[in-house]
Every structure is written in structure tokens, then in C-alpha cells.
């Protein structure tokens, strides 16, 4: 009898049943080997908890790995939101953005980003009490049967249209929704002999020039990115300002 139970323990140990030693994914609902590594980089030793109220909305798979739609919605959290950090665990450049939402506006934002492979995607939301609330999503990068090979990246259109902004305001209840597209190559620096060249700062300002909401962007944000913001209050005009890492500034009244 004892021999049987010994054998069972031995077999269980070999088959990789989780044990206390499996620290790197500590508590991560997605059990990602990169969780602990990225947590140390982005959250350091600050308190955090996984929180299902932080929505990280993604399609189940990346049809085009250079244009994966992402919505981060932290509006279910009470109180002022200080900052939101988004990253993709298994990207070679993990961080997608830092975001400081406008006070009093719905903390919801959409954009498109690049994935290198199937990966967990995180949004860590800092509330006023100093706690990070972490939401997670997962996108499979297997694609579909007829997935087209990417060809657009070599399109030189941007050279003569850099920083052009097309967009529109939509009425959404008492809020204004702004959607806009900025022409920019958003080069990651990971492609042979093409240095990184990307939009680095984005600000939404009111008519007097005060900053309502701002973002720091990173190279995983898609080429010619499309952003969606919701701003409370309809008194305009709002202005959009962007700057890239080459120092070029782009501005438009929305």
C-alpha cells in the first residue's frame, strides 16, 4: 500500500502539478511566465491586485498582428484614476502606453497595437489610494486560414503625409467621443536598418490649452494608429497635440 502511494507521489511530482516553487506566475489568472518579471519593471514594489473590473478587451485572435484592436476600460473602478499602464507580456517591447485619463471622464480608451506572438495583455490602473488594479486579456496570434501576408509596411505614403490627422467627434450621451487617425510609421527599431521612429507623446487639451488627458506611447502602438477617447462635457473646441521621438509636433483642433 505504501509502495503505491510512494509511486503516486513520484508520478505527480514528475507530471508538474503546481507546487509552492512556481513563484514566477504568483496569482496571475493567465499563469504567464512573464508576469513577475513585468510586474517588477512596471509596478516595482507597489501594492497591486488582479481586478476583473479593469476590462482589457481584445479579439480572441490577431487577424493582422500589426493592427490588433485593444480597449482598456477602467470606468467600473470608483474614484479618480491616476494612471494606466498597458503592456503585452510576450512582446519584445512590452509597454504599449502610459495614460493619465482626464478627471471626470470615462476611463476608457481604444487603440491598435502590434503583437509578435500570442500573448497576455495587461492594463494596470493606479487609483488614488496607491493601489494598482490589474486587468488581463489574451490574444492568440495564430490568425486565420486566409491571413494575408503583411505588405503595407513598405508603403512610402507616410513620407509625404507624416503627422496628418483625420478624425471626427461623436456625441455619446453627455460625453464627446473623439476618434482620430494619425499618419506615422511607428517604427520599432527591430527591423533591419530602420531606426525607431514613433509617436511618443499625446495630449488632449481644452480651448485654453490646459491638458485634460495625456499619454506616453511606445513603439508597439500600430502604424498609422487610430485612437478612441471619451471626454465628458461638450464645451469645445478640444485640441489634440502629438510629438514623436524625432521632435516633430503635430496638432489639430478636434
Amino acid at each position: 500500500m505504501r509502495a503505491w502511494s510512494n509511486a503516486l507521489l513520484f508520478a505527480l511530482a514528475l507530471s508538474g502539478v503546481p507546487s509552492e516553487a512556481a513563484e514566477p506566475t504568483a496569482g496571475d489568472p493567465l499563469d504567464s511566465v512573464m508576469w513577475e518579471y513585468n510586474r517588477q519593471i512596471f509596478l516595482a514594489d507597489q501594492p497591486y491586485r488582479f481586478d476583473e473590473r479593469v476590462l482589457v478587451e481584445l479579439p480572441p485572435f490577431a487577424e493582422d498582428p500589426t493592427q490588433v484592436p485593444l480597449t482598456v476600460d477602467a470606468s467600473a473602478l470608483a474614484g479618480r484614476i491616476e494612471r494606466v499602464i498597458a503592456w503585452a507580456d510576450l512582446n519584445p517591447i512590452q509597454q504599449i502606453f502610459n495614460w493619465y485619463p482626464a478627471a471626470g471622464s470615462r476611463a476608457r480608451l481604444s487603440l491598435r497595437f502590434k503583437v509578435q506572438q500570442a500573448t497576455p495583455v495587461r492594463a494596470a490602473v493606479l487609483t488614488q489610494d496607491g493601489v494598482w488594479h490589474v486587468g488581463s486579456g489574451f490574444v492568440d496570434a495564430a490568425g486565420g486560414g486566409c491571413t494575408a501576408p503583411s505588405m503595407a509596411n513598405s508603403d512610402p505614403y507616410w513620407e509625404s503625409h507624416l503627422g496628418e490627422i483625420a478624425g471626427r467627434r461623436f456625441q455619446a450621451g453627455s460625453a464627446s467621443r473623439y476618434r482620430f487617425k494619425v499618419i506615422h510609421p511607428m517604427d520599432t527599431g527591430l527591423v533591419n536598418n530602420i531606426p525607431e521612429f514613433f509617436l511618443q507623446q499625446l495630449e488632449l487639451r481644452d480651448g485654453q490649452g490646459s491638458v485634460l488627458s495625456r499619454m506616453e506611447l511606445f513603439p508597439p502602438v500600430s502604424e498609422n494608429p487610430v485612437f478612441t477617447f471619451d471626454l465628458e462635457g461638450t464645451e469645445g473646441p478640444h485640441r489634440l497635440w502629438l510629438r514623436d521621438n524625432g521632435g516633430n509636433e503635430f496638432e489639430r483642433t478636434l
Binding site: 487577424e63 480597449t71 486565420g144 486560414g145 491571413t147 494575408a148 496628418e164 487617425k181
Partner: protein, 316 residues
């Protein structure tokens, strides 16, 4: 004593290994193609209403052949060399006639990667289809290896060897007519056998399986082509995916779905929806029976929504 202890541990361990779930010893991969007589001299090999997987080996596509008194005409060759060979065996079960003419409806991998098994015949395709295969076939082939695995073994792209620049061809007693279209991929062949009235629509028509849009020039173009297809007199329509139908139900469903897609994408752009919001919207009840509708809708939003956004955004 010690010996028997180890021996018992070993037996217990061996038993546990045998009981582990998911252990399977590879069965030989077989497409098990069964030709279905759908009209005089005309056979359909109907694929499953599924996405590519290691379970189905990519057999999600319809292929067909016509046995004439001079030889066999093949319409599309399937997703792999293995499929092409299985198709030839299926043909050989029905007739001793040689394969004379092979037609590729368009450049998507499930329709032409079986060409290798027909390299001894004349393989026809629209000139633009041949060009698109040469440009994108390698990437498609790589993707198929990734999606269906070992079923693809030894598959290499075999390009068509004859550009289709005629609109009629007589093979034995069968009079074939060709209609070049563009709605699905930019180069799409529709073939009518005037002798039997069978219309081989390729992927210009999907039925009971959601259509795919990665290379469509636009839904409006596809809708115009669909009107042209509806105007071709025929007795039986063979879609690229889904069952063959004697009436207008396949064309009707396609038209409804294309119009619904166009309207849905347009109104979403006008209301300012983001892609993630749009990907989740409820489906029209008319399409409740259409396989893979959510999967393909998500793909279609990725392919086409940027064009609809552009249309409502104001430029500087």
C-alpha cells in the same frame, strides 16, 4: 524485498503513464474523399463547414470534377499535396479517363495547393490569379503548415501553367464557359458547364458558412458580381464552401449577408464605434445557421473596418 518494492513502483508508474489523458499514437492521415454524383458526369467532393485544423487537414473546401468522353475536368485541387493525391484516387474510382484540364478558381491555399498531384495536366487560372499565387502563395503555404501540420507534408506550391484567356472551351461533349470576376480576391473564376447547367461558383459564393474577406476589393464590388452570377442561367450551383443548391438560396443568403455586413460596418463607423465594440455586436437572426459567423465577422472587421472609418473621418 528491495527488488520487489521497485518492481511494484515500476508497475504502478507504467500504469499511470498508460492512463495519462491525451496520449494518442498517430493514426495515418486520410482525407477519405467520397465523390458525390450531383449531375450527369459531375462529382462533388464536399468539405466540412469548419476552419482549418489539424483534425480536418484543411478539407473545408469544395472541389469537383466532370468526366467527359475525352477526359476529366477538375475544378479546384484542395489544400495539400496529400489532398490532391486523394482526389486523383477518388477520380480513378469513378473513371479510367485521364485528367485533361484543371481549373483553379482563385489563389487561396485551400483551392490550389493540391495542384502538385495534377502537374502532368494543363492547369488553368486567370492571369491575375497566377500572379497573386506567385506573390502570396509561399506565405499561404507556410500558414497552412502551421494550421494543419503534417497533412501538408511534401506540399509545395505548383503554379498554374496556362493563363485562362478564353471564355469558352469544349471538352468532350461538355461545353464550358468562363466568367472572370473580382469580388472575393480580385481574381475569381466562375465556370458554367452549359451541357449540365452546373455552375461552379468558387468562393464567389459561400453557403451556410460565413464568407471570408481578406482580399476583397470591397463588398460593393462583390455584390455587383453576385448580381452577374444570379443572371447566369443554371440548374445547380456549387459554392466554394457549403452544400450545392438547385435554387437561388445560396446566392440569396450571400447577398443578404454582404448587404448586412456593409450596412453594419457603415453604421458602426458613423456612430463612432471602436473595433472591439463592433466585433461583439449581436448577429442578425437570419444568419443563425451560418457556420463560423462570429469568427469570420471578427476577421472581416479587421480587414474592412479601417476603410469605413476613413470614409467618416474628416481630413485636415
Amino acid at each position: 524485498m528491495l527488488h520487489s518494492h521497485f518492481s511494484r513502483i515500476f508497475k504502478a508508474f507504467a500504469l499511470l503513464i498508460l492512463m495519462l489523458p491525451g496520449q494518442s499514437w498517430a493514426a495515418p492521415l486520410s482525407y477519405d474523399l467520397k465523390p458525390q454524383l450531383i449531375a450527369e458526369d459531375t462529382y462533388l467532393l464536399q468539405g466540412r463547414l469548419e476552419d482549418f485544423s489539424r483534425g480536418n487537414g484543411g478539407n473545408i473546401v469544395n472541389t469537383a470534377f466532370i468526366v467527359t468522353r475525352d477526359g476529366v475536368v477538375v475544378f479546384d485541387t484542395g489544400p495539400s499535396f496529400r489532398y490532391g493525391k486523394a482526389m486523383r484516387q477518388a477520380i480513378a474510382q469513378v473513371t479510367d479517363q485521364p485528367v485533361l484540364h484543371v481549373f483553379n478558381s482563385h489563389h487561396h491555399p485551400d483551392h490550389f495547393l493540391g495542384n502538385q498531384a495534377f502537374a502532368d495536366g494543363t492547369i488553368w487560372a486567370l492571369p491575375d490569379t497566377g500572379r497573386l499565387m506567385a506573390e502570396q502563395g509561399g506565405a499561404f503555404s507556410d500558414n497552412m503548415y502551421r494550421l494543419v501540420g503534417d497533412w501538408m507534408r511534401a506540399t509545395e506550391m505548383q503554379l498554374p501553367n496556362r493563363p485562362l484567356q478564353v471564355d469558352r472551351l469544349q471538352v468532350g461533349e461538355h461545353r464550358l464557359r468562363f466568367f472572370p470576376m473580382t469580388g472575393h480576391t480580385g481574381a475569381d473564376l466562375v465556370m458554367l458547364d452549359e451541357t449540365t447547367g452546373v455552375l461552379f461558383a468558387g468562393d464567389m459564393v459561400f453557403y451556410q458558412r460565413a464568407l471570408t474577406t481578406p482580399q476583397t476589393p470591397g463588398l460593393a464590388v462583390w455584390l455587383r458580381d453576385l448580381d452577374a452570377i444570379a443572371a447566369i442561367p443554371h440548374r445547380l450551383l456549387v459554392p466554394g464552401h457549403g452544400p450545392a443548391v438547385p435554387d437561388g438560396s445560396a446566392i440569396g443568403q450571400m447577398g443578404d449577408y454582404l448587404r448586412w455586413l456593409d450596412l453594419t460596418l457603415r453604421s458602426a463607423a458613423e456612430r463612432g464605434m471602436s473595433m472591439t465594440e463592433l466585433m461583439k455586436i449581436p448577429f442578425d437572426a437570419r444568419f443563425a445557421e451560418v457556420a463560423l459567423r462570429r469568427h469570420e465577422f471578427i476577421r472581416t472587421v479587421a480587414h474592412l473596418y479601417p476603410r469605413y472609418e476613413e470614409a467618416v473621418f474628416q481630413k485636415q
